[in-house]
Amino acid sequence: MTRPELLRVEGVTKAYPGVVANSDVSFAISEGEIHALLGENGAGKSTLVKMIYGLVKPDQGRMTLRGAAFSPSEPRAARASGVAMVFQHFSLFEALNVAENVALGMENPPPMKELAARIRSVSEEYGLPLDPARMVGDLSAGERQRVEIVRCLLQDPKLLIMDEPTSVLTPQEVEILFKTLRQLSAEGTAILYISHKLEEIRALCDEATILRRGKVVATCTPRDRSAREMAELMIGATLTPPARAGTTKGAVALEVADLSVASPIPFGTALKNVSFTVAKGEVLGIAGVAGNGQDELLLALSGELRANRDSVRINGQGAGHTGPNERRSAGLVAAPEERLGHAAAPDMSLVENALLSGALRKGLVQRGFIDWQATERFAAGIVSDFDVRTPGTHVAARALSGGNLQKFVVGRELSQTPEIIVINQPTWGVDAAAAASIRQAILDRAAQGAAVVVISQDLDELLEIADNFAALNEGRLTPPRPVAGLTIDEIGLMMGGAHGMEVAHHGH
C-alpha cells in the first residue's frame, strides 16, 4: 500500500550540555500510518517528538511536512500545520470542567454551548464518550486522557503524536484506545506512537523506528518481528530475566487490616478498608492506574501517614500509629516513588542522602552525633553494590540521572538488612539492564526471608517478580490472588476494568 508521505525527518541532531539526545535521526510517516517510535528511557524519543511539536529546535537537520519545509518555532505553529500531541503527563486543571479545559487549549474557542456540543459529538464519533460538564478532578486517568485526545481531535490533526499513552490505562481501556486509533488511521490521520511496550506496538503499529542512545538503530514492520527481537534491537544486548529461587513462605511479617486514611494530597485518593498480609519470603505486587491510592498506601506503610494502631501490624505488633523511624527499627524500609524531594534531598550529597533513611538501621548516629566516616562507607557501598554511576559520593543527588538516583535510593533501602520492604515504582525511568538488576536485588532479599510489597504501574514487572497480585482502584485494594494462573483479562478487571467506559465502541 502506497500512501502519500506526510512527514519526513532527515538527519536531525540535538545536543544538550553533556548529552547528545538525537544524532542524525531520519524517518518518514505516510498519511494514515501508525508509526511506532520505540526505545528505552533516555533513548531520545521525547526529544525527537518535541522537535516535531515545536517545543525544541534541532541543532541540525530538516523536516518536511507534505513536501514543504517544516520548522515549527512553537507548538502553536505545529498545531496550525496539523500536528497535535497527547503528552504522557496531562496538562489539565482539576478544578475546571472538561469543556473549560478544552477551551483553554484553543486559539479561538467557540461559545461554551457550541464547544460542549462539539466535544460530545467528536468524542462519541471516535468511541471516547465524555461529559463536557464534568469536573476534571473527578475523572479517572483514562478519562483525563480522553479529554486530551478529544482536545487534539477538535483541531482535526493530520498527525497525532501520543507519548506513552497506555501507561495510565487498564488493559480494557487500552483496547478501547486502540480501536479509536485504528479508526483515526483509517480516516487518514497518521499517528506517531511512542512506547517501550513491545506487544502493544506489535498489535497496533504499521511501522517502527527503533532508537538507541539517540540514534536510529533499526526500522522494521512490528508484525513481522517477535517481541524478543525488537527488545534486543532496542536494548542492544540480550537480557537475562530475573531468576528466582523457589521461595518457602514463612510466618506473616506485615499485616494490614481495614486500613482507611484520608489523603494528605489535594485531589488525592483516600485509602478505604485496605487489607492484605505478606509473609516472609513473599512478594506481593500491587497494580493500579496512577492516582488510585498508590502514594497514600506507601505513606501509610512507611509511617509518614499515621493510622489506627492495629491497622498495620509488623511481626504481630500494632504499628499503625508509629512514625517512620519506629517502623524502621521494627524492620520495615520504604522507598517512595518520587526520588527528588521525597526519597532524596536534591541539594544534599549522596553521603547525606544515605544518612537520611539509613541513620537508624545502620547505626550511623551515636548519642545524637553522626558518624560521617561510617555514613561515607555506607554510601560508597551502595554506589558499588548497585552500580550507581556517579563521580563520587560527595555529588549532589540532583546531579545524578533519574535512573542512577533510583538505583541509589532502592539500594539504600535494600542495604539495610530489611525484614519488610515496601517499594513504589522500583524501576520507574530506569533502563532495562538496571531495571533487571533492581528486580533481581528485590528477589534476592525475598529469598533471604524479607516480606516485599511492590507497588507498580508496570504490569509486566509485577507478573515477573510477584507471588501474589492485588490491584488498587479508587483507594480500595482487591483481595490478593496468586500470580500463577491469572489472565490479563482478570488483571484488567481487578484494576477496575474499563471504569465503566466499556460502552464506548458498541457502534463500530
Partner: protein, 362 residues
C-alpha cells in the same frame, strides 16, 4: 547575550569567595556614591573600614565597640540562622531581645540591693526565658492554627516595644531617678552587672556567649543529627518527613532557640553596655541580625565574620558621619549595598555565566 546555566552541584569555590567579592563590589559602588556626594571615596572607605580599628586617635574608643556591637548581632543571628535553615522565619528577634532584657533586668532589680552570687546567673536564665516565651507565642500559633510566623513574630515586636515603654515609665522606673523614665543603672549594682571583662577590649559575658553559640551551632550543624534534620527540613520538607522529622517539634525547637538566644543578647546588653531599661533601649539589633545571618550564609563561622563586619560598618559609619559629614542615609545605603551585592553574587555558586548566544539551526 548573557545566559545563566545551572551548575550540577554548587561550586565550593564560589560559595567561599562570594562574600569577599560582595565586599569589594560594595566598596566600588559605595565609593562612587560617596564621590557623587562630593567626598573623597578613598578617605570615606578608609574611615569606615580602617580608622575604627587602627586610627591612633579614635581606635582606643572605637575598637572595644566592635565586640560590644558584634556580640549581640552574632548571638541573635546564630539563633535565627537555625530557623532560617529549617524554613522557619522568625522575624521578631527584636521583640524577643526586648523581652529578654525586661525579664533579666526585672529579676536583677527585684533583688536590689542584695549582694548574692546567684543574682547574675539567675538573670541570665530569666533573660533566655523571656526571649523564649516571646518566641513561643508565634511558634504555638503556627503549630496549632497554622498562622504565619513571619507576621506574628513581627507584630510581637511592636507589642514588646510598648511593654518596654510602659516598664521604663512605670514598674521598673528608678525610684531615685527624679521622675525621669528608665530603670536603675545595673552597672552600678555589681551583683547584677555584666562588666567589661578585660579593660579596653569590649569583651563581656555576652560576647563570650556569642562565641560559644557559634561553636555550638557549628557542631550541631556539622555533626549532630538534629542539625542534619534542620537542614533537611529546609531543603526538602517531604524528605524530612520521610526521614522521620516531626515538623511541629522542629518549629517549636527552632523558634525556641532563636528566641532564647535573642533574649540572652538583650539581657547581656541591659546589664552591660546599656546599663538600664529605657524607652529607647532597643536599637535594632534584632533586625540587623537577620542581615547578619544571611550575610554569613546561615553558616556559624560566616555569621561570626559577618557580625564583625556589620559592627565595623556601623562604627565606621558613625565615624564617617562625624568626621566627614556624610549623611546618615548614605551610610545606610552603603550597608544596604552590602546585602544587595551579597545576595546578587550568591547566584554564582549555583549558576555559571555563559557569554554569547547559542547557535541554533532551523
Amino acid at each position: 547575550m548573557i545566559r545563566l546555566e545551572k551548575r550540577p552541584s554548587p561550586s565550593r569555590f564560589w560559595q567561599a569567595s562570594t562574600p569577599v567579592l560582595a565586599v569589594v563590589l560594595t566598596m566600588i559602588a559605595g565609593g562612587l556614591m560617596f564621590a557623587a556626594l562630593g567626598k573623597n571615596p578613598f578617605e570615606a572607605i578608609r574611615t569606615i573600614f580602617w580608622d575604627p580599628l587602627f586610627n591612633p586617635q579614635f581606635a582606643s574608643y572605637s575598637r572595644p565597640q566592635l565586640l560590644v556591637k558584634a556580640g549581640p548581632l552574632i548571638l541573635i543571628a546564630i539563633g535565627l540562622s537555625l530557623g532560617f535553615r529549617a524554613g522557619i522565619w522568625n522575624i521578631g528577634a527584636e521583640g524577643q531581645y526586648i523581652m529578654g532584657a525586661l525579664f533579666g533586668a526585672g529579676v536583677g532589680l527585684a533583688f536590689y540591693p542584695a549582694d548574692l552570687w546567684f543574682i547574675f546567673p539567675l538573670m541570665v536564665v530569666a533573660g533566655a526565658f523571656g526571649g523564649w516565651i516571646w518566641a513561643m507565642i508565634p511558634a504555638i500559633l503556627r503549630t496549632k492554627f497554622n498562622t504565619n510566623e513571619i507576621l506574628v513574630s513581627l507584630l510581637m515586636v511592636y507589642i514588646a516595644q510598648n511593654i518596654l515603654s510602659s516598664m521604663s515609665l512605670g514598674l521598673l522606673r528608678n525610684p531615685e531617678g527624679g521622675g525621669f523614665p528608665g530603670s536603675r543603672n545595673l552597672s552600678q549594682y555589681p551583683a547584677a552587672s555584666n562588666p567589661e571583662l578585660i579593660a579596653g577590649t569590649g569583651l563581656h559575658w555576652g560576647v563570650i556567649a556569642a562565641f560559644m553559640a557559634v561553636i555550638a551551632a557549628y557542631i550541631l550543624l556539622q555533626r549532630h543529627i538534629l542539625g542534619f534534620h534542620i537542614k533537611l527540613a529546609g531543603q526538602a520538607p517531604r524528605a524530612a518527613r520521610y526521614a522521620g522529622v516531626n515538623p511541629t517539634g522542629l518549629i517549636l525547637l527552632c523558634m525556641g532557640i532563636s528566641g532564647a538566644l535573642a533574649g540572652l543578647a538583650g539581657l547581656f546588653e541591659v546589664a552591660g553596655p546599656a546599663g538600664q531599661i529605657s524607652i529607647d533601649f532597643n536599637v535594632g539589633y534584632g533586625f540587623t541580625a537577620i542581615i547578619v545571618a544571611f550575610l554569613g550564609r546561615l553558616n556559624p563561622i560566616g555569621i561570626l565574620l559577618a557580625g564583625l563586619l556589620m559592627a565595623l560598618t556601623y562604627i565606621g559609619g558613625e565615624l564617617a558621619q562625624f568626621m566627614l559629614g556624610l549623611p546618615a542615609a548614605a551610610i545606610q545605603a552603603f550597608q544596604g549595598m552590602l546585602l544587595f551585592f551579597l545576595l546578587a553574587v550568591d547566584l554564582l555558586s549555583n549558576y555559571r555565566i555563559r557569554l554569547g548566544s547559542t547557535k541554533e539551526a532551523i
